[in-house]
Symmetry: C2
Subunit: 210 residues, 2 copies
Amino acid sequence: MTLQLHCFGESGNSYKAALALELSGLEWQPVKVDFFAGATRSDAFREFNAMAEAPVLVDGDFQLTQSGAIQQWVTDQTGRHGGEAQDKYEVLRWVLWDNHKLSSQAGMLRFLMNFLPEEKRPAEVIAFTQGRLKAAYTTLDTHLAGRDWIMGSGITNADISCCAYLFYPEPFGFDRKDWPNIDRWLSNIEGVPGWKHPYDLMPGHPSDRG
Amino acid sequence: MTLQLHCFGESGNSYKAALALELSGLEWQPVKVDFFAGATRSDAFREFNAMAEAPVLVDGDFQLTQSGAIQQWVTDQTGRHGGEAQDKYEVLRWVLWDNHKLSSQAGMLRFLMNFLPEEKRPAEVIAFTQGRLKAAYTTLDTHLAGRDWIMGSGITNADISCCAYLFYPEPFGFDRKDWPNIDRWLSNIEGVPGWKHPYDLMPGHPSDRG
């Protein structure tokens, strides 16, 4: 049975799982979660995933959520993206850092600035979060000085996690041209054979909502 | 050589690593990071840890940051807190969820509400974050209905991660009496032989600053 990933194009967290699957060579298919129609807030979805979030990986009777856990599952299945054995903790460290400091804030901020009606956008929260994200971009850009990848000599789950929200076109205060090491590293990721942009890899695009 | 954990009492993220070490039976000693005197913002600390955060584990030449990565290292060293083999992904999933949705927000909010001068506290950010945390408490409390532990029949890294900020006395809008399943589960954790409160396990307490 083909693996299914319940996901949607606007979700950077979904993208982390989708890109890991796509680059691993596993056969998979996306199933669109209609987030903007309230799908993740329904009782049926909450039954499906108590965290009420996408992505959800389904492999027969097995299901798993949280992008970082799905990434680890893909690595365990295929041997891909885990990095060298001695780098295991460093890869995990950057996946956790991304979840804690980068994606969690970038995802929220992008939502507030683009997908909320303009009159509902909380200005103080937006400014505060942009300040915190600047610290995160600085950490990442500094780490990437002189490196092609976050850890080791090829793409790992650390890269796949940290890059996810940084490919989206909707403005949230991040411009890759401001961060030369991040910019070069994003180009390295775009150059990986099989790489696809989130909107080319998963169903769902802002233009769907007119 | 004895393991060292660079940490401070007020840090829930430090506590996740300290509690994992303490309950694992490994010999370790805390080294106080003087966060409130600006220690993590110094160039020397940034050299030590590019993420400019506590905790940092030091084992001879090896060093590691991010509480979830340190927890995994403790599990790999001791076989403790990883849960049953079939629960590996579920444990990781909750550690990631905590980093993404619970601790990242609770830690920031507690800082804003208690450790910033009153005139600098951003009211809109505080209210917004309290709303998001209520959703996280609901997810955790719902999951814990009918369960003693987040996964399986004993304490795992999932519990150690999710509980960390919930033991602190400084007010940030969480009262365990409002969440009966979380309250019962926190009591289970307090009952684990060797359990210690963050302020009893690590150096550094708000009263140090007068």
